[in-house]
Structure formats: C-alpha cells, structure tokens
Point group: C2
C-alpha cells in the first residue's frame, strides 16, 4: 500500500463502518419492533437509565435531536408505560422524563437482542479479532465528540 496504490473507497474504515452500521441498525430496528420500540425510543430510554430523570429539552440536546421529536418519542413511550412525565414543581414549565420499571425491563430486553445480534454479526471473526474489534470500537465511542 503506497502512494501509487491508494486505499480504494470500499476498503476505507469510513465506508465499512457505514455499511456495517447500517446493517446492524436495520437488524436491530427490525427486532425491537416486536417490543413496539423504535431506535430513538431506545436512545431515550438509555439516556434516562444513565442520567436519571431528565427534562425534555435536555434530552433533545443530549441526543442531538429537535425538541419536537422528543415530544413524539416521549408520547410513544408514555403509552407503553416505559416513561412517565413528572411536572417540575419549582418550574412548572419543565417536565422530567422518568424511567419506569417497565422501561427498565424493555431496556434489558433490548440489550439481550443486541447481544444476540453481536454473535451473528461477528460470527466470522476468531476470538482475538472479535476482542480487538470490541476494544477499538469501545475506544472510539467512549472518546470525545460523539452525539447520541
């Protein structure tokens, strides 16, 4: 691999991450459908689990989505009983989104689905390669500059 033989598009990390990310996302989306969840629902539930009760506008900023979308997602999750809206008493404009036990359970099931998918996606890798992939992806996602 020298200057006269540059890496072709399909061999770049960018291209491959995009391809595999789309594949993983599509399969995950399909399977969480059985729980009546969509990807943004899972993102919101995950945020509440890690951050605790959070105002809607804060959620919008943390997930990098429009405030109006948070309304839609929270509505859906409220119908499922996965979150509750709690009116903030000191500032009654604000609503804290709170994860319920049902929401916790759904999140647990989503994690199980993702772990199943991991097995399928990385079936072609030997244990060392799989571990190296995990480590690299972990470094990149735990690092700086990442939305949602």
């Amino acid at each position: 691999m020298n200057a006269a033989d540059p890496v072709p598009l399909t061999a770049t990390t960018t291209y491959r991450l995009g391809l595999l990310g789309a594949l993983a996302g599509a399969r995950f989306t399909e399977r969480i459908g059985s729980l009546r969840l969509k990807p943004k629902d899972v993102a919101l539930l995950g945020l509440l689990q890690s951050d605790g009760p959070t105002a809607q506008l804060t959620v919008a900023r943390r997930l990098g989505v429009a405030p109006s979308l948070v309304v839609t997602v929270a509505d859906r999750l409220e119908v499922l009983g996965a979150v509750r809206r709690l009116r903030d008493q000191s500032d009654r404009r604000r609503q804290q989104l709170v994860l319920t036990d049902t929401g916790q359970e759904l999140l647990t099931r989503c994690a199980a689905i993702a772990r199943e998918l991991d097995e399928e996606l990385t079936a072609g890798l030997d244990p060392a390669a799989r571990q190296a992939l995990d480590a690299a992806l972990g470094t990149l996602t735990t690092g700086p500059g990442l939305p949602s």
Copy 2:
C-alpha cells in the same frame, strides 16, 4: 464479565457499530455534498466501477433498493455526466448504466474524502488498534450476506 454482569446495551458491538456508522455516514454525506453527490450515488458509481456496465434492475437488486430509486439516482448522475444510459440492442427494454470518465474521477475524489475521514475517525487509536480494526471490518464486509 460473567452471567450476572451481562454486557450493557451501550457496550455491544451492535450499538457501537450503529453509532459510529451513523457518524461516519453523516460526515461523509456532508463532504460529498461539495461534489453534488449523495450516498446512493456513490454506491451506484462504486457498483459500476466494480461490475462494469449494468442494467438498472440488476443495480436495484445488487444495492437492495427499489427499481424506482435507481431511476432517480441514475437521472441525477446522468445530469452530472457521471453515467450514461446505453440502450441494449438485443433487448431494447434494457438500459445498461455505464460509468464515464467523469464518474471515475468523482469516485476517486470520494475515496480521497473517505481516507481523510478515516484519519479523523481513528485519530484516537494507536497504530496496532487501527490495524486490528481495519482487519476485522474487512473480514466482516468481505464476508457473506451483505447488501450494497
């Protein structure tokens, strides 16, 4: 990591691939905009480069998209001068999509953009980790069962 401490959602390969894939895709999309290209355009150009002239319906099947979308993308690329439509003489219903020199050049520029992005995305990895990531992603994308 044992049975009582399962991998949480955000630590799964599925979740991380989805997150990084979306990030890489968004940045790539933004930058190819200066070439007046969209992601599907690049996918079509890339297919023509690797497979040579291809009928539209075949393109649709290979990319895993609806035939009507191939019409839209091919229209856009024809306006840019990146592909030509050649009517098949032995079966005049068919049109072969052919990559032009302009299309080749655009593809070359897309590859350069992707390589730049690779540098930025993997800046947090040491050389060994970067190489391990490349190898793993290469194995997974070169393997079986992948659309587009």
